[in-house]
Every structure is written in C-alpha cells, then in structure tokens.
Amino acid sequence: MSIVPKETIEVIAQSIGITNLLPEAALMLAPDVEYRVREIMQEAIKCMRHSKRTTLTASDVDGALNLRNVEPIYGFASGGPFRFRKAIGHRDLFYTDDREVDFKDVIEAPLPKAPLDTEIVCHWLAIEGVQPAIPENAPLEVIRAPAENKIHEQKDGPLIDIRLPVKHVLSRELQLYFQKIAELTMSKSNPALFKEALVSLASDSGLHPLVPYFTNFIADEVSRGLNDFLLLFNLMHIVRSLLRNPHIHIEPYLHQLMPSVVTCLVSRKLGNRFADNHWELRDFTANLVALICKRYGTVYTTLQSRLTKTLVNALLDPKKALTQHYGAIQGLAALGHNVVRLLILSNLEPYLRLLEPELVAEKQKNQMKSYEAWRVYGALLRAAGLCIHDRLKIFPPLPSPLPSFIHKGKGKIIKTEPHKRKLSVDSSENRSPQKRLITTDGLQSQDHTSPAPMQVDNPIENDNPPQNSVHPSSSEQASDASESESRKTKGKEAGKGRAITMKAILKQIWKDDLDSGRLLVKLHELYGERILPFIPSTEMSVFL
C-alpha cells in the first residue's frame, strides 16, 4: 500500500491527542500522508536547486512548508546531517539523538569562536584555454598531449563522440619500452639484461608517462604472482629503480604502489618453493619501504603513520604467521630507531613471551616453524640492538676511560649480519648439527653456535652487575659528559643568552639519557648478553 504504515498514522494521531482513530481511517490516511510528504519534498527540492545546492537541508524543507503556508518545523538547524540511531530491540525504529542540554552549561560555556567571514579569492582557472598548474586548480593529468588530441579531432572531423575518461597519449617508443620491460620482468630468464633494464629505469629521463602503467603493472602482477618468488623480487627491483630515477615524479602514484610493496613485506607466503629465500625479499622490501618513507614522508604526512599502523597490526596479531611478523619487524626496523623504540620495544616483552614456546624445541616440533621463530627472534634482536646502538650513538662521546675498550668496541659494532647469514645457510640447506644444537639447547646454546661473529668476551658475560646499580651510574656519566660538552660550547660561544637554551637542552639530554639507560636495562633483561654486541664499547664500560 503506502510506504507510510498504518501504525505510523496511529502514532501520529496519538501524539496529537486522537486516541480513537479507527484502523480503517488510518489506512485511508496513509496514502494521503505519503502524497503530502512527497509534495513537500518536491517543493523542498526546488528550494534546494534555487539555493544552488545538491544536498537537501532542513532549511529547504522549512522553505517548502512556508510555500504551502504551513508553519515550519522548529528546532532543526541545518548545521549538519542528523544522526539517526537505531532503537534497541526494534529493527526499523529510528530516533534522532537529541540530548537534553543543561541551561547552566549553555550559559556558562565560553562563547564559541566567531565563524570566519566570507571572502572571495581570485585565481586563473585557465589562461587562453590552458589550465595553469597552480595550487588553486584541480591537479591535472600529468601529461597532456594537446597537439595529438587536436590532430585526432581534425582527422575524425566532427564525429568524435565518445571520449575516454582520461586520454593519455603514449608514443610508440614508450609502448615498446614498457612491453620490453614487462617481458623481461615476467620471463626471468635473462638476469643480465634485466639488470641493464633496471639501470635504465633508474636513470633514463622521459619515462614519466609510463609511471602509471608501471604502477598498474606492478600492482597487477603482485596480486597475481604471490607464488612466484622471482617475479616478486623483480618487481620490487623495478620499484626501487623507479624510486631512484631522479626524473620521475612518482608521488601521485604512491598510493597505488604502496599496497603491492607492503604485500611483498608482510604477506604470509611469498613464493611457493622451499628454496625461495623470501627472507631476503622481505629484507629488500623493508629497505624499499624505508626509502619511500624517507623521501615522501614529508609530502605525504600520513604515509608513515599509515604504514606503521599496518605493520604494527601485522606484528601484534598473534594469529598472523611468523613470516608476517618477520616482515613487519623488518619494515619497522628499517624506518629508524625512533619507530623501533616506540612501536617494537614497547611491545617487546609480551611479544617475546608469545614467541618463547615457539623457540623451545620441545614445545615446537615443527622444525620449519621453529626456524621461522628463530628468524623472527633474530630480527627482533637486530631491531632492538640497532635501536639502542643508534640511541647511544647520538649522545656526545663519553670521555672514554680505557682506549683499549674502544679499540675492542670498534670491531664488534654490528655483527648480526654474518651471524644471520650463517644461520640461514645452515638451516635452509640442511639440518646441520649446529641447527640441531640450537633447537635442542634453546636459548642457552645460541651464543655458542655463533661464537665467531659475536666476538663477545666471556668475562663480560659472566659477571653481570646488578641492574639497578647500572642505571644511575650510566646516567650520571652521561650527564657529566653532556655537562662537559655544554661547558665546552659555552666557552666557545661565550654568549650569556645561550645559557638558558643550553639548560633546556641539557634537561632534554638528561631525560633521553635516562630513557635509554632504562631501555638498555630492559633489553638486557630480555635478551641477556645477546644485546651486548650492539652497544658501543664506551657505553659498555659504563654499563658494566
């Protein structure tokens, strides 16, 4: 019947005091109510059109009621769209959220800011038929080929009827180039030539018109070829080359590119063969991601935050595969020590607790899984270690107590790489005895399996001083250092006014130092001695 149900009519009748409305009468009224409502809406739409709007507002309806000599409905300001809420327990009953406002609150509330006054801004939308690329204008299609368009039009005379949504004219040469690159990427048979192609991609000017096609190509192939490890690797190489090319303006396409890149970082499975070293691909992609963030983070302020959000989500979801966790950790680690400190280290403890059962061989029978867990553990260690290393590095060098320590320290700054490589060689090729050692001995044996790269002196391992005492001493030392530093600068500048700022800086350094001191302690708690190689020797001396 009518879209206004009988019940609505009854409710309306009750609300205006008619309690004994016959159901037949309600039925008769319903179509008329619908008709009137439609009539009013029709008038309201007219008001809307004459207000040169395309969204209907409450004031339009008021205007329509006015036209019909009906009193407008008060109390509906057209400030914003109404929020209708569902009544609980009723499927199709809605109400507007109309909260009671305390009169006192209204009176006591500070005056709202006056709205800005209307103004007119003038700009050139077009100059002799060409839109200038100024911020006031909508972004244009990157390359226009007006000349060719015109030729096209003249050739066909007045017959052109259908215009493609975006006309993008590509020269024959560029088309061939694109085809060739695509072929090379897909065929994977000629690595030497592919390398050449990458060089060309990274250096040739004039490739810009192809960027949308490449981004499209990459997005398509990544989504299609998740099982094809080599293809993915090739694609990521293309991305890197494109990013490196100074003549290419890739920002507008980043949003298209990022999903594919992130996929190659945190996908559950990359490649389908056992021999596919997807770890390497993830590492490579992590660096790529970092490169993108570094270069475009300033232009796209949301880029990094969105990326880290994705990665952290991947990391903190215990349901996700360990490979995904690995990718996420590597991605975050590549973004710098601040990211690591904020996002990984804060979650490190609970995460390691989760990871532990996987690491212990007795609990995790699946060797593959166990291996993956170790990879993740390694990645975490590296991330944390690099982070602490970087943080300690930014502080002014301490007056080193022992030159021999420094000497020793230099050799052992970052040594995880060989260690890791060794691990991967060990485990992926054959179940080596060392590997078995790891799995059986668990945590304890880790150090012994790779003694060479670690180069950590045994005495240090053995006598760990109580952590609590470490903390103040380190900070004290650091503060001494910074004070001496500040004294030095003071001496240099000899400026009176600087003293205040210096003080502020000092405070900051002090605080940072405290933080990093705590961090160090925490990491040591979690990792034991394995964190030590990351700590510069000078700090180490303090630490001990």
């Binding site: 019947m1 009518s2 179509p31 008329d32 619908e34 008709y35 409502v37 439609r38 009539e39 029709q42 007219k46 008001c47 059109r49 004459h50 207000s51 040169k52 709007r53 395309t54 507002t57 004031s59 205007g63 006015n66 036209l67 057209s78 006056a114 709205p115 800005l116 006054d117 209307t118 103004e119 007119i120 801004v121 003038c122 700009h123 050139w124 939308l125 077009a126 100059i127 002799e128 038929g129 060409v130 839109q131 006031e136 204008n137 909508a138 007045p158 017959l159 052109i160 009827d161 215009r163």
Partner: protein, 676 residues
C-alpha cells in the same frame, strides 16, 4: 458461436453502457439515437454499423471481455507484463520502436489502477516495472509515485495533463502492424484500450529509424502540444537592434580587419546558407513592414539595402520598448571594450578568471558578476547580499590602511572586504548587476525584488508584486527594464521607476525558474519546472515560442549575441541549443552530470560556456554544432558532442559565468568540502 446467441438488443445495451462508462457520452447518445431511429424506420433492416458488430464474432468477444474484466485490477499487471515481454523479445530492428510504446502504456495503466482505487495493486504494478523506465523518465516517475488516490490524480497537475493529452509516437509501418497483430491475437483488449486512448501513432512507411534516441519520436500531445505548435507558428524577429553599438563600431571601422576575417570564415563555412539567410531577412523585413506601416517605405529601403549588401551577419529590428539613453562616456567605454575584444573560436580559447567564495558556510545561494567583471555579488540564505569590488581588493595590498577613516565598510569588528546590503527577509535567490554596474537587483523568498545602488550602498526601491518566492531577476541588456520570475508561475516585466509590473506573463504549468532577455530587448525567455522554455513578447505579453525537450527542470538560459539561438541547461546536466525561429532543438550538448547553473555566450557567439554543480566549466563550440545540423540533416548523423574544453575546479560548483565584453570569462562559485 456464442456471439450469435447474443441478441442485438443486449449487445446494444452493452455497448451503450460501455461507452457511458468510458465517458464517451456523446458517442453513446449518438448510438442511442441511431438505434431509436432504426427502430422507428424499420426494425428488420439493421443499419450498416449494427450489421457490422452483430455479425463480427471478434468484436462480440471483445465487447464481452470488456464487460467481464473491467474491474479486475490484476489484469493490468498480467496484460502489461505480456506486452512487455513481447516487446522485449521482438526483432532488434523494431524493438526500440515498440519499446517506446511501453512507457505511456505503463503510466496510464498505473493511473487507471489508481483512478479505480486499487492503490495496493497500483503500487505493486508500479514497483515491478519501474526499473524499465527509470533511465529516461526518472523525474516523472518520482512525481507519479506519490499518486495513490483518485483525488491525487485530480489534484496533481502533471497527472491531469497526462490524462488529458495524448502521446505522439513515430513508428514505422511494420512495427505498427506487428503491434496491432499482437494486440488482436492475444485479445489484450485492456492494452488496446489504453493504447487507443492515449497514444497517437504517426506511422511512416519504410525502415525504422536508427535506435538512437530521437527526441522527436515521442512527444506528449493533446491540447498542450497543439497550443505549442500553434504558438510556434507565430512570427518572431530575432534580429538585433538597428543602430546598436556593434553596428556603430562596424561603421567606424574600428573592428574592420577582424570583422572581415570573421566574414570570410563564415562565407567559407556556410556558403549555401547565405541564400537561406537572405530569404529569411526578406521575411523579417516584410514583417516589419506589416507591423510598422507608417515606416513602410523606410523598411523596404532597408530590406533592399540589406539584400544588396554582402551577407549581413543578422537582420536588424526596431526596439518595441523605449530604451534608455546611454551616456556618452559609458558608450565610449563599451566601444573601447568592443574594439579590444579578443576573437574567440575553437582554436582560440578564452582565459577564465575564477572567483571562489570561501567561508560561505553553505549559505551562498547565488552569485553574479558585473559586465566588466570588477564587481561580484553574492546572495545568501541569511537574507544578506554582499558585494565585492574586485578592483579594490586587487589594490588592497598596496593601499592597505590608507582610507580607513571614512570607509563605510569598516565595521565594528574591523575591515570588511565587501559591502553588506541588508533588507530582504528571506533567502536571496538572485542578485543581478545592471549593465554599467551601478545598480543591483535582488530577488528573495520574501516575494520582493529590491533595487540597490552600488554607489550609495543602500536600498532604493522594493518591488512587491509576486506572491511567492521570486526565483530570478534579470536586467535587460540596456538596463532600466528588468524581468523577474517566481514560484507563482508567472514572469513579470518591470521598469526601475515603477513599483508595479508592466507585464505579467502567465502560462507556465509550474514554477518559472529562470529568465533571460533577448539581446534586442523585445523578448524574454523563461525556463520552468514544467520542463519547457518559453519565449514571450515583451510588448504584447504573449507567449511566442514553446521549446519542448528538456527532461527536467530548466535552470539556466543564455541567448546568443546575434539573437538567433538560445541555450538552456537543466537539472540533469543537459544543455540544449534552440533555434528561436523554428523552436527546434539544434543539438543537445551532453557532458555535464549535474545541474547546469549557468550559461554564457562569448561576445561574438562562437563559444558557449557552461558552469555546473559537477565542479567544471565547459566550453562548447557552438558554431560547429549549428553547422553540423545541416550535415546531420543530410546524412542522418546524430553525433553532436561538441565539447571543446573542460576546466575542472578543485571542488567548487560553478554558480555564475560571464563573458566580459572583451571576452574574458569570469566564473564564480563557493568552495564546498569534498564529499567524504
């Protein structure tokens, strides 16, 4: 056969009853008289007609089926869906023609059902087939959807006019035969009845026309169409005023070289057109003769002169209104502008200067730009009008703080960049500058029109006359006179010095939404929610043209500078180019996908600019689209997209456009937050 058992008298009664029921009272009476006459003269010898239906079993069956199923609402649905599936399954060649029949049948089935009080069935019927017609007839369907009771049918004008009028459908002979065969074979008398009652077939022999949607193929007729046809026979003089400034400029030769170039082009372009034109001029001249007998000699002389001269751009006419005298300095400045006009064409595009309103808080109802582009006005929903002097704003950086002391624009809160005009008591729907820019007219929902002086920054006159919101007001091209249009379905002509309207133009069937003057000031055009555009004679107040073709409310109008063509833009984004003399659509310009708020012709009429709610300004090559019609006529080609350029704005719907006299295009709009 059963039919033979029915005796003649019974049949006659049936027939009379049926005719009466259907409202054919006169026919019924005639038949009765006929029968009486027959009885009186000779009972045994039946008249020719009675033999016919007594002996035709088909017909008796028909009549019987009428008597049976008259009140069965489900039959509509059945019959319609049968007809529909038949039409959809027909041969591709004839399909589009047969499908055209479906829409009128559909709406009349629905209205029949509503009219008989079967609301429930009507709704079900409507909803089940609505999809078929939504593409083309969405707006009408939305209107009809609300009709649920017989009383609504009476009340709603649209429904009433549909009921009264017939639909004209062009159909080829074979399709027509197919349809008739089908209807007879299946005995779907219900459909046959509806088709007979509401559709008027224009059968033509030969192959069906191409499937493209021919606007002329389906037209609503009946009383309305007839009057439209009748009205469109009237003569109009679309020529420009004689002794206009352009003429004077030509004479002085200021534009000579450019003008000659232009003429050379036009000669190449439409050489065959020149003959036609000169005959038209002859006609124009003769009409002038008729009208102004006292000046007959003069006119003939003029015609002779015109005919001998080489291809005049357009005929000249006399103004029917007493036009204000232009002051010499204003005239000089206009002449200067005309001399400096940039010649535009499909290869020489104009520059577009865009005025963006910021912080309008969704309150900007209308914007307008003065003829020289220096003043911009905005009408707001809070009843205010604000006027910006862009020339001053341009200098503001240099002269800041110089004349703060006696500037009336300095409010208590500091310096305002605009002049605020307060006076209306409802949303302002239009604010329009006089040609020299010294006055502003505004119209509002408070039913008044107000005249403001930009020199004094105050209200001068309040014109009360309309009874409902005034949607639009426009100064005549020479100032002094202005036209307004309103929700009260009238358009009115006023002069600045009288508070009563001079003419009231009534005739539109719904709101008059926009109004525009013809360049020679003798006509105004109005666009309406009844989807038509009308042209009115200012002197007589009569409607002289009705332009039918839009599928939704007409929002904007523009007249070509030569007075020959008109462009109108509607709610759906369609722009139509009309030839004023024939009242035919030259070409629809498709491209916008939302309301066309504003249209403007370039100074010499070669380009049309359109501004739309889809945040674009489009430029159309109008010369080629008018030229194309000839080609189209020749080879039946219906390609007609002539969009030259599209300038997207960031997210600003384009509310106003104006080509300055020097052919710089000004556009204005309020920036809107992009849809989230």
């Amino acid at each position: 056969m059963e039919g033979e058992q029915l005796n003649g008298i019974q049949l006659n009664e049936f027939l009379i009853g049926y005719l009466k029921k259907r409202g054919f009272n006169s026919a019924a009476k005639g038949l009765e008289e006929d029968l009486h006459h027959n009885k009186g003269s000779d009972n045994n010898v039946s008249s020719f007609t009675s033999i016919d239906y007594h002996n035709d079993p088909e017909l008796t069956k028909l009549i019987r089926s009428f008597s049976q199923s008259e009140d069965d609402p489900t039959r509509y649905r059945e019959c319609y869906s049968k007809l529909r599936s038949w039409a959809y399954n027909s041969l591709d060649l004839y399909k589009h023609e047969l499908l055209r029949v479906m829409y009128p049948v559909f709406i009349h089935c629905y209205m029949d059902l509503v009219g008989k009080g079967h609301t429930q069935e009507a709704r079900v019927f409507f909803n089940s087939f609505r999809k078929d017609h939504e593409m083309i007839h969405l707006r009408d369907l939305q209107k009809l959807e609300g009709v649920l009771a017989p009383s609504h049918l009476e009340e709603m004008e649209f429904a009433r006019s549909l009921r009264k009028s017939k639909v004209n459908i062009k159909i080829c002979q074979y399709s027509y035969d197919l349809l008739l065969q089908y209807l007879h074979r299946t005995e779907s008398t219900l459909m046959l009845g509806i088709i007979n009652e509401h559709i008027n077939f224009q059968v033509y022999s030969g192959q069906p026309t191409s499937a493209s949607d021919d606007i002329e193929a389906v037209t609503i007729v009946g009383s309305f169409q007839d009057t439209a046809n009748h009205i469109n026979q009237k003569e109009i003089q679309w020529g420009l005023l004689e002794d206009s400034l352009e003429d004077r400029l030509e004479k002085t030769g200021g534009l000579l070289s450019d003008f000659e170039k232009g003429q050379g082009e036009s000669k190449d372009g439409d050489a065959d057109d020149s003959k036609k034109r000169s005959t038209e001029i002859g006609k124009q001249g003769s009409s002038i003769k008729k009208l102004k007998k006292d000046k007959a000699g003069n006119a003939t002389a003029k015609v002779a002169r015109l005919e001998t001269s080489t291809v005049p751009p357009a005929p000249r006419v006399k103004s029917e209104l007493a036009l204000p005298v232009m002051s010499t300095d204003v005239e000089q400045s206009i002449l200067e502008d005309l001399r400096n006009r940039v010649q535009l064409s499909s290869v020489a595009m104009p520059s577009v200067s865009f005025y963006t309103f910021v912080n309008s808080h969704n309150g900007l109802n209308c914007a307008s730009i003065s003829h020289d582009g220096s003043l911009v006005s905005g009408g707001f929903s809070d009843s205010s009008i604000k006027i910006w002097d862009m020339a001053k704003i341009g200098q503001a950086g240099a002269l800041q703080g110089e004349d703060d002391t006696n500037d009336p624009n300095v409010g208590p809160t500091g310096r305002r960049s605009y002049t605020l005009l307060l006076g209306h008591s409802g949303p302002v729907y239009s604010a329009n500058f006089s040609p020299p820019g010294d006055f502003v007219l505004s119209s509002s929902a408070d039913t008044t029109i107000r005249l403001w002086s930009t020199k004094l920054n105050s209200n001068l006159v309040c014109y009360k006359g309309h009874n409902y919101p005034v949607w639009d007001v426009q100064f005549s091209p020479f100032g002094h006179y202005f036209a307004s249009c309103s929700h009260d379905r009238t358009a009115r002509i006023w002069t600045m010095d009288q508070i009563q309207p001079l003419r009231i133009m009534a005739g539109h069937l719904s709101d008059v939404d926009c109004v525009q003057w013809h360049p020679n000031c003798n006509y105004i055009a109005t666009g309406s929610s009844d989807k038509t555009v009308r042209l009115w004679d200012v002197q007589t107040g009569e409607c002289v043209r009705i332009f039918i073709g839009h599928r939704s409310m007409v929002l904007s109008l523009a007249m070509s500078p030569d007075g020959r063509y008109m462009a109108s833009g509607d709610e759906d984004g369609t722009i139509m180019m009309w030839d004023l003399s024939t009242a035919r659509c030259i070409t629809p310009l498709m491209g916008h996908n939302s309301c066309v708020w504003s249209l403007s012709y370039s100074g010499e009429g070669s380009l049309l600019a359109s501004g739309s709610a889809d945040c674009t300004v489009k430029l159309w090559d109008v010369t080629s689209s008018t030229k194309l019609t000839k080609a189209e006529e020749k080879n039946g080609n219906s390609n007609r997209l002539r969009s030259l350029r599209t300038f997207p704005t960031k997210s600003t719907p384009v509310q106003a456009l104006r080509f300055s006299r020097r052919n710089l295009l000004f556009a204005a709009g309020a920036i809107s937050k992009p849809a989230s």
